[in-house]
Symmetry: C2
Subunit: 275 residues, 2 copies
Amino acid sequence: MKDGHEVHVLVRPRDRMPPGLEGAKVHNYRGHGQEILNAVEKARPEVVYHLASLFLAEHKFEQISNLIESNLSFSTQLVEAMVENKCLNLVTAGTAWQNFNGKKGTAANLYAATKEAFEVILRYYADAHGLKAVVLKLNDTYGPADPRRKLLAILREAALKKESLGLSPGEQKIDLLHVNDVINAFKVAGARVAKNVAGVEEFYLRSDRTLNIKELVEVFNKASGKTINARWGDRQYRPREVMMPWQEGEVLPGWKPEISLETGIHEYANEESNA
Amino acid sequence: MKDGHEVHVLVRPRDRMPPGLEGAKVHNYRGHGQEILNAVEKARPEVVYHLASLFLAEHKFEQISNLIESNLSFSTQLVEAMVENKCLNLVTAGTAWQNFNGKKGTAANLYAATKEAFEVILRYYADAHGLKAVVLKLNDTYGPADPRRKLLAILREAALKKESLGLSPGEQKIDLLHVNDVINAFKVAGARVAKNVAGVEEFYLRSDRTLNIKELVEVFNKASGKTINARWGDRQYRPREVMMPWQEGEVLPGWKPEISLETGIHEYANEESNA
């Protein structure tokens, strides 16, 4: 919106509106496909940024239908609505976890498998209906106003409460990107897909700095001026824990991350809690 | 059942029970995931033959959620129920249409894309939970008691009523297998997956005799002793009509078709109509 674009958002009425989107045109989605069709038909977007997703690190049987409804059924209906309205430019988010343990296309978890499966659907729409898509594969992300209870939030809370914290052995490496760097990547991808003639392109967003959880806690301590009292090995690794983020695959051309982990964590650790 | 196996079937109450399955143990599916879990837990099958599918040659927007529910959500819940019960042997059906116009993995239609997407899910379960699966990719099939309104059924009806029949230009080639040959392939695949140690294997079922629709009508006339009065070119080809069936990819080892088109069509054309 700051760049002068007219922005339409398709959201569930119960969703928290992301900060900065006040003034966007809101289309409500209550679970009816027709609402997706109507929103695309009214907005006629030059670029669709499809960011809706159900993330589950581990799934239970009874969550499968919701996972597939969110990540495949909604997503496919959105793309169908796009091609029916001749809106052919899509930017969407995948995950580096679509490639587990060095095996490209073999997902770390069912969530990542639904993301990989959606790319099959995208390739059909590209071939059959001229859809153009850029899929950005993300690793971990963080930043201000993040409502998710991710590791950095837990570290911040433990530091604030001065409580000790049970953690895994901490040897798994992660690759963290600041949300502002991620937003820039989506802008670059949007400009690319609007100009580009290719079908489905996939690019990775990486910080080019992986560090393990033990190293991350050291960075957190130094950048925040606080001290985490960690009980290493108190928790087990998750089944199919990703020990090393996927480092292969082309990074989005024309983009690089600009916010260092030290700067980002300093800001994050001292943010007023938004809980 | 003739081979001495205990057979359990999971069916919707409204489904027609396939002939020959009287005496099988019936588990009803009314759309609740728990019913899938219960059926697998009670049956504890050595091999699961997953044949449920929603086929749509062309889809409408409002059919997408059903397509994905049948071919991805139900299917994923079935596989989850299998691994939760340590039943790890699956035989299922894909389609040669998962490869359109010489492009492997680019589907001819959205139905075929859901089949290709399901293989992504299968690879996750194979890697994460030791699932073993054989996916048999079929072309066209025919045979007695076929309730589908496919080309051979339309030819038979036109011959019976002595009516002329509007058809496409008829240059698209098809590869037809008799249902008994297909059944034999599923038996071979079931024996293979029960012994086999590999993850997801894919094989093709082919007749090794492709013929175009014009040639097929000649075979029909000769084998049936009837004469189709065809108006060639009266109908248009379907969008993304498959003009040449996919001929690549390994055929299921230990299997070959045994019923010639002439024999099968002679029998089919003279079958008492089961409409």
